[in-house]
Amino acid sequence: MINQLAEDYANQPVVFLDYHYDLAMDDGIPTYFPPEARWNVIQASEEGLGLTWAVVDSGRLHHRGAETEGEAVAAYVTMIDDALAQPARAALTASWWRSGNSVIVLATVTNNSEITLSPENNAGVHAIVKEPYAVYDTHTTIHPGLNGAMAQIPDLAPGETGTYLIVIPDIDPYDWENLEFIVLVDYQTAPGLKFDQLQAVFAQPTTQIMYLPIIEGRP
């Protein structure tokens, strides 16, 4: 059903990402919770509701526990259309290059919102690897998010621009040539409350590689 929804929105600026809940398990310890802390807020919102979990705008809108296709489609279309109607509140550019089984993403954010982005509101730049149309037993759609990482935003006032480096480790796709890298910037609207997303883009491959020692960032 989400696969069909993705086809329906193929001509609009919407990207679908499907996660497996034990993504990047390492000895039983998840190393990346997609979408990390913002997912925890959704989980805490309604006790006992199971999958499917779906969010747009990092959780500004969410839906949990759809039991029928009709319920899911109605809810998801409403969420997506609402998100499409929101303006971008940041300008974002990103490039990526491969280093072994890792990918390094360099993202530049101009904060066009009225909020200062900082650790106080858990502001971050996420980079997520997607292998479109790949079928994995661990994912229920053909829009699998394989791994991701984030960089915290130390301090970015309205009108300011900052550049952030994100290293996504341990990428093991079927086909490296078929990967997409989605970069998004978000923040938490208030302690314990939902996150919101300022903007997202597809990172572009670059040949202007910065030779850096690989330092694994916060997953």
Partner: protein
């Protein structure tokens, strides 16, 4: 050895440049009209 030192210096400079970029934002003059990209994220699916 000499080229090794050069390479090390280049690595350090690159790292510092990146860190500086991340921690010292500069004022932006332009607000772009970049269209919004909506990210729909899900776990599990009622297929």
């Amino acid at each position: 050895m000499k080229s090794g030192k050069k390479l090390l210096a280049l690595l350090v400079i690159s790292l510092l440049a990146t860190l500086m970029a991340g921690t010292s934002p500069t004022k932006s003059q332009a607000i772009t009209d970049q269209p919004k990209l909506v990210v729909f994220e899900s776990v599990g699916s009622v297929e």
